[in-house]
């Protein structure tokens, strides 16, 4: 049933983008087991023109900046202190053309070093898609200056390589929350435990003094080392009074196969909110 739903989603995505330039990439996260040492990514061109695709790899992981926004920190030459698979996971082919309404498979092949310690290793896959040039209107008029900018798109997805015993968890502290008009803004400090990235979801529930739920939000999150994410959710205006925000970080993801999400105990905390 799950597979049928994914298929239906893929059809919907393809049908609605028939005139656009780009490729559909699936899945949006790749997990490779050490016993298999290979993976694959499917590319589908929903457009009407061939798309030239270039595949490359890089090392990076999500961090937060001073405002709490999540960004990708890239490291050009990761040293041995970082769990990088950049040097030994390769994609084939690296250049390909995907014809209109056609699909192609990109294989990922891992050649880990001998004696690789148990744990999780990361690399990012960049899929650059370039379709035909958008024509500049009126180029036949050689006396005029005609100007236009064409577009190119790149998609970066994560690849996780797991060997042996992998564990994860998250330590939660310093939860803060503010109501700004109809928006609830939260911050917290999250520190990963174990030897694998914590891939899960942040959930928040706002309850009133009677314990009734007044609002809720959920946001997918990956904690690779540590971060202090800012999550803003429109929850509507709350009447005057005191409320509690019940904040939890759980190892659950709607978008991933549950078998791939490493189990970890939930981390919870609560903070009070006041609407004057």
């Amino acid at each position: 049933m799950r597979r049928v739903l994914w298929l239906a989603a893929a059809i919907g995505l393809g049908a609605s983008s028939l005139h656009a330039q780009g490729v559909m990439v699936a899945p949006h996260a790749v997990y490779i087991d050490h016993r298999v040492r290979s993976g694959s990514v499917l590319l589908y061109n929903p457009g009407t023109e061939p798309v030239e695709v270039t595949i490359s790899t890089l090392f990076g992981y999500p961090v937060t900046d001073s405002t709490g926004a999540i960004t990708l920190r890239t490291v050009d030459a990761p040293d041995s202190t970082l769990p990088s698979a950049l040097a030994w996971i390769q994609a084939f082919p690296r250049r390909l053309t995907v014809a209109p309404l056609e699909r192609q498979t990109v294989r990922l092949l891992a050649r880990p070093p001998v004696g690789l310690a148990d744990g999780e290793y990361w690399v990012r896959l960049m899929i650059a898609a370039k379709a035909g040039q958008i024509p500049i209107v009126g180029v036949s008029d050689t006396t005029a200056i005609q100007v236009g900018l064409t577009l190119e798109v790149r998609t970066i997805i994560g690849v996780q390589y797991r060997k042996g015993a992998v564990t994860t968890g998250v330590a939660l502290s310093n939860v803060r929350a503010q109501l700004r008009g109809d928006t609830l803004v939260t911050w917290s400090r999250l520190v990963r435990q174990g030897n694998a990235a914590f891939v899960g979801t942040v959930r928040g529930i706002v309850v009133d003094s009677t314990g009734a739920t007044r609002a809720s939000f959920a946001s997918p999150l990956g904690v690779y080392f540590s971060m202090e994410p800012r999550i803003a959710s429109i929850i509507g205006k709350l009447p005057r009074g005191r409320y509690w925000l019940r904040y939890e970080v759980v190892a659950e993801r709607e978008d991933l196969d549950p078998a791939l999400v490493l189990r970890a105990p939930p981390a919870r905390d609560s903070v009070q909110l006041f609407v004057p």
Partner: protein, 159 residues
């Protein structure tokens, strides 16, 4: 038996005509370039400004993925456009020339500096759109002909 045969034939035809069956690891993710920035005809020495809220001429990218996913948007921007016989035309991007709309509505954007990374969140339907404007600066003796360059948008799936 006959029913089974029809089922097998039907599935085979379906498989040939449809996009790939997505693996169990995750959902599909699509970034598409919908529309390039269109300046049309410009006059020598007269800057031409295209706003990110211009519904006909601004550049547009659409993103489809997983609901509530955070994505990092990073532009690679040209400083000049290439024209006939090696001629170039300067192009500039202002600090609010890019915009992100979770609702995919051009009139409802959060502006951002296209020269800096920006983090957006996809909608409950897993969608979002990026819009971009620019300013072309033709010089007084700009050579006639077509000029073009490429804007590259990199979308990083963050979690």
């Amino acid at each position: 038996m006959k029913l089974l045969s029809w089922f097998v034939i039907g599935m085979a035809l379906l498989g040939a005509a449809l996009p790939p069956v997505v693996g169990a690891q995750g959902k599909p993710f699509t970034v598409t370039g919908v529309r390039g920035v269109i300046f049309g005809a410009v006059l020598p020495g007269v800057p031409r400004v295209i706003s990110r809220t211009d519904p006909a001429n601004s550049g547009q990218f659409d993103i489809k993925g997983v609901k509530d996913t955070q994505v990092q948007l990073t532009f690679a921007l040209p400083s000049a456009m290439n024209g006939p016989a090696g001629a170039q035309m300067p192009i500039a991007f202002g600090s609010s020339d890019a915009g992100y709309s979770q609702a995919q509505v051009i009139g409802s954007q959060i502006g951002f500096d296209p020269k800096q990374p920006f983090t957006g969140t996809l909608s409950k339907n897993g969608r979002g759109s990026v819009f971009i404007g620019a300013t072309a600066n033709p010089v007084a003796n700009q050579r006639a002909g077509p000029y073009t360059a490429t804007i590259t948008l990199t979308v990083t799936v963050l979690p």
